[in-house]
Symmetry: C2
Subunit: 197 residues, 2 copies
Amino acid sequence: MPRVSQQYKDERRREIVAAASRCFLEHGFEGASMHRIIAATGLSAGALYNHFPSKQELVLASARTALDRVLDPVEGTDEDAPGGGPAEWVTGLLERLAGDPAATRLLLITWGGAVSEPALAAVAGEHLGRVRDRVEERYGRWAVEDLGLDPERAREWVAMFAQAILSVLQGYVVQSCLLPGFDHDAYLDYARTLAAQ
Amino acid sequence: MPRVSQQYKDERRREIVAAASRCFLEHGFEGASMHRIIAATGLSAGALYNHFPSKQELVLASARTALDRVLDPVEGTDEDAPGGGPAEWVTGLLERLAGDPAATRLLLITWGGAVSEPALAAVAGEHLGRVRDRVEERYGRWAVEDLGLDPERAREWVAMFAQAILSVLQGYVVQSCLLPGFDHDAYLDYARTLAAQ
DNA sequence: GTCTATACCGCGATAGAC
DNA sequence: GTCTATCGCGGTATAGAC
């Protein structure tokens, strides 16, 4: 079982997901037909179905990839900038979104689809839970060490702070995609003010 | 041109939208087929198409109805409780959502669909803009009269407050639909704390 | 592994009697 | 206005040669 074969397949899958994501972004998960996706990959139907057994699997892979693009870089900063306060962390998260509007829009498409598609709901729900847990883990320690709160107060504070983070994230996604006249800088001001509490 | 005829048609349209909304809620806008919707209304295909010329119109009508269910009662309080502060207003809004989970879920479906469907984007964007304008109008005066801010400061404050309201609304919608272990009361605490600034 | 060609189904929408 | 029956298209997925 040669290892190159696995690498090749992974790379091919990555390319397919990238092409499919472009289609999903433009037409939605249901609106993007397999014909269109196949054309976007440059492959043939048979070839594509050798890598993904169904459209559903392709949808889930696209959603997971977009969701991870939001979270992974933020998790990366755990090691890069362990001393950053909550305000910097939130700002970094939002600027990551601002720099990748495609992933941001795919995030909103995923949330919408998750309402009526259990498999998507599982992916989206697990992702949101992971963001929350990451925040609680990171800033639970921070609240005790840098803020000097006693453990009980810190637990309360961090739970509310995590809720604020999620809410700010979701507000940014929805408003940046849908609100006419959305002001990116004003939103960052709001997020900074909120995180400074 | 008898007036009863118009009333009859309006009532019939309302019934159709209600049945269609139940289908959209369960299967999404694209996943719900006309066959299914027709069965849900109890009518026949021909009858339904006499009231709505296309599925698209039915989708837009459903989305508008769900969106209005969120905003209208809130606007109604403009006259019922003109003295309520921001915190009460936000709480009322969220409890309205909590009491109508179907409309809440349809809201999220609409936002998701709006990303790749311009007609839905227009409806959703106009609605979000209306919520924001309503907040700014209502609490712009409030900030000057009850909070005693000078006009310039009030303008800044109300812009940020409106952003906070939207964000809290959107956070509630996404989290209540998708986050495993979502805590309604904790979210209300967060919203109240935020509005008390 | 990848291709072409196609099966087969369910979709939105319509025709025409009543 | 409402019904039944149906059209034609485009959907996902597969078969079988290479």
